[in-house]
Each structure stands twice: as C-alpha cells, then as structure tokens.
C-alpha cells in the first residue's frame, strides 16, 4: 500500500482552497487533506499531528508567514500557490511553487514529485539535524547571499544569521559556501534548474 501523506492547505480565499482540494482529490497518491483559513489553526494542528506537505496560497498575511516559519517538522515540504505577487519572505519559505492558472495535471505532478522527494530525503536527511531555519539560511548562502542580505530577507538581525551559520558549521562539519553548495545539491535542498546558474 502506498504511504499515506498528510497535506495541509492554507488559503484565505475559500474558492481557491476548495478548488485546489478538488484537484488534489484526483491524485492516485494516498493523501489526506486538511484545509485551514489561517496559520494559527495550522500551527495548532501541526503541533500534535503528522504533516508531510503544506500548500500555502500567497494571499496569506505577513503574520501568517511568520507563524508558518516557526513550524519545525523534519522533512516537511512547503509548496507555494502563487495567486498574487508575493514578497521574498514568501519565496524563501517555499520549496516549490504552483501557479493559479496551472492545469490540474501539472499541479498534481508537482505535488507528487514533492511528496516523493520528501519521503526519499527522509532516510538521507534525518540525521543531519538542521532546523528548518538553518536549512533556509544554508540555501540562501548557497545561492550567494551575504549575511546582511539574508538578515534582510528573513527579517532577523545579522547576529542571528551569524549564529545560525555557526550552528550549521558545527552540525555539518563544513564551513565554506562551496562545500555547503555540494551538501545542498546532494541532499536536494536546492532546485537545480532554477538555482544552479547562481552557484
């Protein structure tokens, strides 16, 4: 039997949320979908339940983004549904994206790929112990962002970024961004097609 995947859908717009739910129900993967109107409900749910994937509509508020950033579940994937023009924080949060006018089969394909990656990376990745925030910072470092730029993107102080970097180095035993890039590619942390020319 196929592994059951738990998907949370966060959207302010109910029309979009319900529509996406209808599309997702066509997939052959074994999934269970939960729909949330705001991130607080999602946070409560995530604290006590299994979750493999979150799909967030970009119509959510800045505060919602911050709440979702705090969710720390190993191997959790986040897909952004781009329905307006989201800011950079939104992009830094998501692993993959779908567009409002993508056709259903493409949406299903993206979600299935994301789920299979999250299951695959489970074996490889569970021992690295990087937190979601550290992973996020590592990804930004790898695509060439400076400490200062990362601080601006994530709305944190430069000291916080530096302290995260130190933790990454002590957890992984690697310090240079060149070595981090190898780590990120080997562990599927960056999208090769989109980010590779930046390395």
């Amino acid at each position: 039997m196929k592994k059951l995947n738990y998907i949370a859908l966060v959207s302010v717009s109910v029309i979009i949320g319900e529509g996406l739910q209808a599309i997702l129900n066509k997939t052959k993967s074994n999934i269970k979908i939960f729909f949330f109107n705001d991130s607080q409900e999602l946070e409560n749910y995530a604290n006590k339940s299994v979750l493999n994937l979150i799909i967030i509509n970009s119509d959510i508020s800045e505060d919602d983004i911050k709440t979702i950033q705090k969710i720390n579940i190993p191997n959790l994937k986040i897909i952004g549904l781009i329905s307006n023009s989201p800011n950079r924080t939104f992009y830094s949060l998501i692993d993959n994206k779908i567009y409002l006018n993508d056709n259903p089969s493409k949406i299903i394909e993206i979600i299935e790929t994301c789920l299979s990656n999250s299951n695959k990376s489970k074996e490889k990745f569970s021992k690295n112990n990087l937190s979601k925030r550290e992973t996020e910072i590592l990804k930004l470092l790898v695509i060439g962002k400076s400490n200062k730029e990362i601080a601006n993107i994530l709305y944190v102080s430069i000291h916080t970024v530096i302290s995260h970097r130190k933790n990454i180095t002590s957890k992984l035993g690697i310090k240079s961004t060149a070595a981090m890039a190898i780590f990120a590619v080997a562990n599927n942390l960056i999208d090769i097609n989109e980010d590779i020319d930046l390395i």
Partner: protein, 227 residues
C-alpha cells in the same frame, strides 16, 4: 639514546610513512642493516633534526631546541622542497584523479561536478601557498644563512602571518565524503579517495609543524644573531 642504534629498515616496517620522510632527506631504499646513526653520518643529517622529524611522524609533537646550523637549515630546505614536489606531482594529482573517477561513476551528477570544482579550487589555493614559500620564504632563508639577507626587505615573522590554513578544506571534503554524500555504488573508489586524503592531510599537518615550529624558530634565532 637507544634510538640511535635502531635499524632504519625496521623503523619503516613499523611506520611506512618514514619511507617518504627518508626519501625527502635523500635516503633511498636498499638500506641493509644501517642504523639511524649510520644514515645520519652518511648523509650528513643533524641527528636531532632527524629524530625530531621522525618523532613527529610517530605522533610525538615535542620539539626540542635544535640549535640548527646553516648546513642543517639547508637539509631542512631540501626536505621541505622535496615535500612540495611530492604534493604537486603526486599527492594532489592522485586525489584529483580519484575524485574524477567517482565523478565518472556518478555521471552527470551535479554533486560530483561541484566536488571536482571544489577540489580544483583547493588545489589552486595550495599551489599558490607552496609557490609563495618557494619564491619568497625559501630564498629568504637561504639569504639569512648566507648572511646576505640585509638587502631583502623581509622578515620571517611576516611568513607566520602569511601562513594560512590549508587543512580546513580537507576536513570539509572528508565530512562531505563520509557523512553527507548519499551512497551510490561508489564505496570502493570513495574509500580509496578518503584514505589518500587522510594520508595527505597527516603529511601536511606535520609539514606545517616543521615549517612553523622548526624553520621559523631557527631563522628567528639567526635573524637576531645577524642583527
């Protein structure tokens, strides 16, 4: 010192690393039953210098005050230059080749393309480091022992500031290979690569101690005497 009468052939059997140490000092195989003392006399090597280098390879890091004379420093320079040649023509190319081999097993895998690039950059860094020593430091050392360093605007303490860390990236490389890169039917070549890296790393670590603690110390003493 009972070390003096130890047979060099037996020392090599106990610690194969000495093969390369002796070679750098101009001592080649066919050693018969010669003792350390015999070898040092035959090749005009300062016994204490030899024992210090030997001890470093036996993981003993105590450096005696060696009171090295000009001819001993020449021996040391020969040892260091020969080490450089070994790194440039053997140790590093060997590691490069082994990385390329793994890369060819994992064809078109970006991870290994980046790994190749990573080592290539490291290689350039090390070559630059070695070149600085060969073009600036070693000629200066020769000038100091020949008492004509006055016209050179340099002092050995500058070298210490310039001596950057070339071992850090090897540690990263080891961690990537041991911990982070997923297994892809490349166990044998990856293990082979790692053993070469360990060997090179140990060699470099001792090399750095010899440069920083023996060479720099000896030249500082001479600088003080000359001035």
């Amino acid at each position: 010192m009972d070390n003096l009468n130890k047979k060099v052939a037996e020392l090599i059997i106990n610690n194969p690393f000495l093969l390369i140490v002796l070679e750098r000092l101009g001592v080649f195989l066919g050693l018969q039953d010669k003792t350390i003392n015999d070898i040092c006399i035959e090749h005009k090597i300062n016994l204490n210098l030899f024992l210090t280098i030997y001890n470093l390879h036996e993981n003993e890091n105590e450096i005696l005050d060696l009171h090295l004379k000009a001819e001993d420093i020449n021996t040391l320079l020969k040892y260091l230059s020969n080490s450089h040649n070994y790194y440039k023509t053997e140790a590093i190319p060997k590691i490069s080749k082994k990385i390329k081999k793994i890369s060819s097993i994992n064809k078109n895998d970006l991870t290994y393309i980046l790994l190749e690039r990573f080592f290539e950059e490291y290689k350039q860094e090390v070559f630059k480091h070695l070149e600085y020593e060969e073009k600036i430091v070693f000629p200066y050392v020769s000038a100091v022992i020949n008492h004509n360093s006055k016209q050179l605007d340099y002092s050995i303490s500058e070298y210490k500031n310039h001596h950057d860390d070339i071992e850090a990236k090897l540690l990263e490389l080891k961690n990537l290979l041991i911990k982070h890169l997923p297994y892809k039917n490349d166990q044998k070549s990856r293990r082979d690569l790692l053993l070469n890296i360990f060997h090179f790393e140990k060699d470099l670590r001792i090399h750095t101690i010899i440069e920083e603690d023996i060479l720099v110390h000896a030249i500082k003493n001479l600088e003080n005497k000359n001035s």
